[in-house]
Assembly symmetry: C2
Homo-oligomer: 178 residues x 2
């Protein structure tokens, strides 16, 4: 019997911890017997969306492509984890509506003050200096989910606590064997 696939859709500011969480959750799900694929924002831009800008229109195209691929994987029994900023609520909701497998939205809720203070990739500094146009949280909007399945507050709780919270929520939904 093949496991039921689903989409685990991380959304949040740059530096909130989406990719880190994805890379920590994935091996746990694999240990439980699931097939898992991570669609990282950067990897998808390289392979599916090269040449697209960070304008709203191009971001929407990029996020729709991620959702298209995530859906292909999920409807074939794979847990597809996406880890792109995906700042616009309407497009995320569209991705949810189009999903043929359960769609679990994880809001990685770290405030801008935290993500900017961390500035792991130095991008906020560049954005403040005007070197990166359309930077989410600085010169571009971020629209938080209104009713996400899971919220993790990575500015307040440990990485381990966030991971445990996600796994428990997936178990509670019957998507991951306990």
């Amino acid at each position: 019997m093949r496991a039921r696939g689903f989409v685990l859709w991380f959304t949040g500011l740059s530096g909130a911890g989406k990719s880190t969480l994805a890379s920590r959750v994935a091996p746990i799900l694999r240990e439980r017997g699931l097939q898992v694929e991570i669609l990282d924002g950067d990897a998808v831009r390289e392979n599916l969306s090269k040449g697209l800008s960070f304008s709203k229109a191009d971001r929407d195209v990029n996020v729709r492509r991620i959702a298209f691929v995530a859906n292909l994987l999920a409807r074939n029994g794979v847990c597809a984890i996406t880890a792109a900023i995906s700042p616009y609520r309407a497009i995320r909701e569209e991705c949810r509506r189009r999903s043929e497998a359960p769609f679990v939205e994880v809001f990685v809720d770290a405030p801008l003050s935290v993500t900017e203070a961390r500035d792991v990739k130095g991008l906020y500094k560049q954005a403040r200096a005007g070197e990166i146009p359309h930077f989410t949280g600085v010169t571009d909007p971020y629209e938080p989910p209104l009713d996400p399945e899971i919220v993790v507050r990575t500015g307040e709780e440990s990485l381990e606590a966030s991971v445990a919270h996600i796994i428990a929520a997936l178990e509670a939904r019957g998507l991951v064997p306990a």
Copy 2:
């Protein structure tokens, strides 16, 4: 136990029968217990490559995207069937090299005289009238595979014979249970 995924890569002229063969092979593989996903040329252009032209550079980008998604599926145990013209040999060979799962190339070998006489979508007529630039076989090259795993001659043999040939070849490779 999850089945082993693989990529079943159809290549051939427009109208050679790639999509028809894919749609006939897929249900047979599903009956044998495989997860199967068809990545049709038109569907991929709509969802992953909108805005790309049919220039060599853009075709290459499109084919690489198909291969990227096919590989994600195949490495997660899915049989990913691609049905795009994919006219350039070097790009097909690149897709093969990058594949993390078995890559089975099916040359749908119908001569131009046959595909143009059929002209199912009326595209050859438009291409001859100069209404479609870069049309494979008319104003753009098609480079046949030199050593494909499977060749089907859809201009000479019945659809049923081509399908049976493909299934038998996949069985012989241990990719499909008999």
